[in-house]
Symmetry: C2
Subunit: 184 residues, 2 copies
DNA sequence: GAGAACATGTAAGCGGTTACATGATTAT
DNA sequence: ATAATCATGTAACCGCTTACATGTTCTC
């Protein structure tokens, strides 16, 4: 009944794309699903070891010259089965969002409107940067959409979420800055 | 340097609106900022006590007939000062988002598209419900906008974020369901 | 009669971040 | 030279959720 650890499924999902090391997984999470998911090394490495103990993944050590060895993990049939089981499950409950900017804005009557204008503007530039990154990824994904890999389509759908979110947020920022200026 | 506990400021912020009990704060958080912030009783009560120990709030016990006593907290000048300090600070770093639906969608090549159609559709109806609630709150806020309380304006701005977010998400759901049907 | 709302709290445990530890290679 | 990338891990700590504990009144 308690909140299950979803990091495990994030690992299995990543390994379902291709065999990877812990380091690879970190990078792929950042570049691929960083807008709505994050994992740190201190979670990744122990979970990966746990997966092998449970027979959901196997390891092979790749020796490299001049670099540390890579522990490359591959998903097993059993791992795939467990991943599918999780994918089938309906999603219950809410994702917790804690957006500090909005918390401050809600209590902004305690300070001058200019304070919040500054905060919202820097939030806005951050968002604009993020959107540009997404657009670049989009361009590279669009080239691959014809390929036989259906996973590309799913990657594109999640990316679109990020783009929709940024767009909406940027429009909101414009409006809020306008409103704040009227109060100032 | 470590991640500071922002729950404290959520409490101070709530008390900056009016004196409240822990129970009141919980309700006000749910109804007012629930779309981007949450607190549980096991955080609220200890923090409230801590605030009084630090001189940031005072308590008064209201006796009631047939109901448990209410411990009503009021913010002190010192509390207001600390709240303002926090409001002034620039917001550093990212808010962690963990949206399970998107995690599943990213790995959806492992299951039939119909599985994700089901998930996205129930996500969509949830969002639509949320949006309706927001619209109701919006209607009641619009009536109060003329009032002398400037805090209403800030409440409206944060509510607008929720509305923008829901709108964008609903449009995204429409598109994704279309795309998924083409894959099925 | 069941369940929600009112009202306050504690204890245990997991989830997750931050800091620590190590060290070579490559790019600026 | 300095920083970044590659690469794997551990330990400590904090934040937060879940479960537990208690009891009345009001609503369906």
């Amino acid at each position: 009944m308690s909140k299950r650890n979803k990091s495990k499924y994030a690992m299995l999902g990543m390994l379902s794309l291709k065999p990877m090391s812990g380091y690879d997984i970190k990078k792929n999470i950042e570049r691929g699903i960083g807008s709505f998911w994050n994992e740190s090394f201190s979670q990744i490495y122990p979970i990966l070891r746990q997966l092998t103990n449970e027979g959901l993944a196997t390891v092979s050590i790749e020796e490299q010259i001049g670099k540390p060895n890579r522990n490359v993990y591959s998903i097993t049939e059993q791992g795939r089965a467990e991943l599918k089981e999780w994918l089938d499950e309906p999603i219950i409950g809410q994702y917790p969002m804690r957006i500090e900017l909005l918390l401050k804005l809600f209590f902004a009557h305690n300070v001058s409107p200019n304070v919040m204008i500054t905060h919202v503007e820097s939030f806005q530039t951050q968002m604009a940067d993020t959107l540009m990154e997404y657009k670049e990824v989009e361009a590279s994904l669009l080239k691959k959409l014809d390929s036989k890999k259906e996973s590309i389509h799913y990657q594109y759908m999640t990316l679109k979420f990020g783009i929709y979110f940024c767009d909406a947020t940027l429009k909101w920022c414009d409006q809020v800055i306008d409103d704040l200026k009227k109060l100032a």
